[in-house]
């Protein structure tokens, strides 16, 4: 006796879902996770990957099955069945994607909030970064352009992860230019071509671009932020795994764009302090502190 087609369909569907879930859980496509928001990102990726696999395998299966099962046999000149539509069926396949998409949207919104992306921008009452604002207004020429005039307080554009920052965060000024990133540590007055950060301590990058748009990307941190001339931008993250990871410029910035790479070195706490001691000038210049009170000059 033939197996009823409803049963076959049900079993195929279940198999498909299980296969999708298995693929999502077990196929690792992403690089190492080395920041506090990377595992959150990876769980979203897993969900998207599972749903995508189920849909893709299902549709490819249907196409291939149709091509084989319904192929025209030699000598058969008849037409297929004259089916012009099926309202219940169409409602089902409108509703299912709508629900899936809504679920994915809400879930990714939740992920985004956990990554700290929903911090209000340009809303001065909700500004979490007074230091950053001051830093921005202190910055070199060009920074003051960001001020829309009037208020005198420049807009600071926060990227994702900006709610990570707290009192104990390590501030680093990042200058992007053709074709390098320069890192400056205001606390120790250190300037470096590589970013050195301690593990498990929030880092606040105060970024500006000198010439064209660049983008700061660390694949292992799952973080990317455009650095746009005229827009001081804050990006915060907490590294969770010691090691060296690439920093990549991800926005076409000129002929040497592909070579605009650097490294972020994540140290254990003591090793970082040691690096900081070794590289810091004997004494922080008092002038740096005093200048913090000045108004923007350029």
């Amino acid at each position: 006796m033939a197996i009823p087609s409803a049963l076959v369909t049900l079993l195929l569907g279940m198999g498909l879902v299980l296969a999708g879930l298995w693929v999502g859980q077990n196929v690792q496509l992403l690089p190492l996770d080395a920041s506090s928001n990377a595992p959150v990102y990876d769980s979203l990726f897993q969900v998207l990957f599972s749903i995508g696999t189920i849909l893709f395998l299902g549709i490819v299966g249907l196409v291939v099955f149709s091509l084989v099962r319904f192929r025209r046999r030699p000598g058969d000149l008849a037409d297929g069945a004259a089916i012009e539509g099926n309202l219940p069926l169409e409602i089902v396949w409108t509703a299912i994607p709508a629900i899936v998409v809504l679920f994915v949207g809400i879930y990714s919104y939740d992920i985004y909030e956990r990554m700290g992306g929903m911090v209000a921008l340009n809303d001065h009452s909700a500004m979490h970064h007074p230091a950053a604002v001051q830093q921005a207004s202190n910055g070199s020429a060009g920074m003051a352009d960001a001020s829309p005039g009037g208020s005198g307080e420049p807009r600071v554009w926060a990227g994702i992860g900006s709610s990570d920052s707290s009192e104990g965060s390590l501030p680093v000024e990042v200058t992007a230019m053709q074709f390098a990133f320069i890192f400056h540590y205001p606390d120790g007055d250190i300037t470096s071509g590589e970013l050195h950060v301690p593990v498990n301590r929030p880092v606040e990058l105060r970024m500006k671009a000198n010439d064209v748009i660049h983008a700061f990307w660390v694949p292992q941190f799952r973080l990317k932020q455009d650095v746009i001339p005229g827009q001081p931008t804050v990006l915060s993250f907490t590294a969770t795994r010691a090691g060296s990871y690439p920093i990549v410029c991800a926005e076409l910035c000129g002929p040497y764009h592909g070579g605009m790479r650097s490294t972020v070195v994540v140290h254990e706490e003591e090793a970082f302090n040691q690096w900081f001691e070794t590289n810091a000038p004997a004494k922080p210049k008092p002038a740096t502190l005093a200048s913090a009170g000045l108004t923007p000059t350029a």
Partner: protein, 556 residues
């Protein structure tokens, strides 16, 4: 508005006849359609050669094949040529001009002269663009997006010529869009209702609405950009108080709808091809129409998903995530409808059908990565990486270009009166399908793992996958050879097709092949059921019918 009457065409004194008419300012929509098609293919081969330079450079992790400046010129030209000189003119101009007058039962487009002008803007624009490579300073180097301030700092002449060329092409596109809207809405044969039109008309109506609404925004933006370059104004120059993010908003307000300008006509063409070769009616005609219109509306309000890393405010990120994701719903409806069209049919496994099914598979893959990219947190990581490059090639190549090939196999007998060779056609499909997937699937992994786009040099750990991708590109290049041989050889020696080799019902097949100047001898046929294929329920042969045939068969 007047419908051209035969008298307008009879005194042929000024119009060349024979093959020369394809080089003339012809007003015949079929000639213009083929002019678009052949010109498009010429630029496709130029753009393909440029892609070859890119893939050649990327076989090694260091910049060693061309200079870095040349590499940026090549990637800019590749993007611009493929979008503005290949896909947009071919899926809109070529097939639109050839088919729309047939579908509405007209003897020509609403504005034949505007139509010819729209075509004749393309060759000078293309020649201008390619020629800019050979002048001092070279072609534009800032990508097809031309983001300032980079586009303000790269050599000015190349950038200005690029702007000029895109403005001409945008003008051509707007002229075409106006013409299609007027033709579809106003030149329909008496008695033909909107909801009886073949689906490609609806696709072209939706596309033309997008063209007319969004292309002028791009034109205005590029004019401001050219002021910044030539006259040193400061619209987009932060050093003069300008704002570069404004440029991005304006640019993507056109350039996201541009994606739908490239894929909606392809959706329409597939909707014409599948029912004919599956011998079944198009499933869900009404929902298809509403899906197209939903895509048009949603397509206009999703542009900022290209800017999630540009410091856009959170509410904007949320809004554009949801809006973008929801495009998956109408698009999904269309794909399920095509699958249902195939289900239970009598599928002829010819080149047109194979390329259409290849399109479904590739586009579903690109659509899935597209929904993923719409999610802000996901996008933050992969934005501006090879993941995005892989994604959009699955949409525009795996999607639209596959449909262009399917359409050539399907309508070539109408264009020439001769069939293409099916063995060469299937070889073409197999090589293209394998080459395409080999080329672009690995790029998703490269992007997830740290390779940004538009780079001439990269981390050496990515070498192997880049070489695999380049092999795929080589295979794609080789796959065009059987196609070219087929198209040229069949034009002279192909099997004679007859007027209607596919036994199709849409109006373009109800005339001679190739059709006469005014499309029909005598009155245009009134086709109210363009997809009236299939055996009604009572006639299903119970010996060969499957359970599902009977299940769905009663819904007629």
């Amino acid at each position: 508005m007047t419908v051209a009457s035969p008298a307008d065409f009879e005194p042929q004194g000024l119009q060349p006849q024979g093959w020369l008419k394809y080089f003339s300012f012809s007003l015949d929509h079929k000639v213009i359609g083929l002019q678009y098609l052949v010109t498009g293919f010429i630029f496709y081969f130029i753009g393909g050669a440029l892609a070859g330079v890119i893939r050649m450079e990327l076989t090694s992790p260091i910049s060693d094949f061309v200079s870095r400046e040349t590499y940026n010129e090549v990637l800019t030209l590749h993007g611009t040529v493929m979008i503005f000189l290949w896909i947009v003119p071919v899926v809109n101009g070529a097939f639109g001009n050839y088919l729309i007058p047939f579908y509405v039962g007209a003897r020509d487009m609403a504005f034949p002269r505007l139509n010819a002008v729209a075509f004749w803007l393309i060759p000078p624009a293309g020649i201008l663009l390619i020629a800019s490579y050979f002048i001092a300073g070279g072609a534009a180097q800032s990508g097809w997006t031309a983001y300032p301030p980079l586009s303000l700092t790269t050599p000015a002449i190349g950038q200005v010529i690029w702007i000029l060329s895109v403005l001409l092409l945008g003008g051509s596109s707007i002229f075409g869009g106006i013409n299609f809207i007027a033709t579809i809405l106003k030149l329909r044969r008496p008695g033909l209702k909107l909801m009886q039109l073949p689906m490609y008309c609806w696709a072209m109506l939706g596309t033309s609405i997008l063209v007319v609404l969004s292309t002028p925004v791009l034109a205005g933006t590029l004019i401001l950009l050219s002021f910044d370059i030539i006259a040193h104004t400061g619209f987009f120059n932060p050093a003069l108080g300008g704002n570069v993010v404004v440029y991005q908003h304006l640019f993507w307000f056109y350039s996201h709808p541009a994606v739908y300008i490239m894929v909606l006509p392809a959706f329409g063409l597939v909707s014409e091809i599948l029912p004919v070769h599956a011998r079944k009616p198009l499933f869900g005609y009404t929902t298809m129409v509403y899906s197209i219109m939903a895509i048009v509306v949603l397509g206009l309000i999703v542009w900022a998903h290209h800017m999630f890393t540009s410091g856009t405010p959170p509410w904007m990120r949320l809004f554009f995530t949801i809006a973008t994701s929801f495009i998956a719903v109408p698009t999904g409806i269309k794909f399920f409808n095509w699958l249902a069209t195939l289900w239970g049919g009598k599928l002829a496994l010819n080149s047109a059908m194979l390329f259409s099914c290849g399109f479904i598979i590739n586009f579903v893959f690109g659509g899935i990565t597209g929904v993923a990219l719409a999610q802000v947190p996901f996008d933050i990581h992969v934005h501006d990486t090879y993941f995005v490059v892989g994604h959009f090639h699955y949409i525009v190549y795996g999607g639209t270009v596959f449909v262009i090939f399917a359409s050539v196999y399907h309508w070539y007998p109408k264009f020439t009166g001769r069939l293409l060779n099916e063995d060469l056609g299937r070889l073409h499909f197999v090589l293209t399908f394998i080459g395409f997937n080999l080329c672009f699937t690995p790029q998703h992994w490269l992007g997830l793992n740290g390779m940004p786009r538009r780079v001439a040099e990269y981390d050496p750990s990515f070498t192997t996958l880049n070489q695999i991708s380049s092999v795929g590109a080589l295979l794609m290049a080789i796959s065009t050879l059987p196609f070219l041989i087929n198209v040229i050889w069949s034009a002279f020696a192909g099997q004679i097709a007859g007027d209607n080799p596919w036994n199709a019902l849409t109006p373009e097949w109800l005339t001679a092949s190739p059709p006469p100047v005014e499309n029909w001898k005598g009155e245009a046929p009134l086709v109210t059921h363009p997809y009236d294929y299939g055996v009604p329920e009572g006639k299903i042969d119970l010996r060969v019918a499957s359970g599902s045939d009977l299940w769905f068969g009663g819904k007629r």
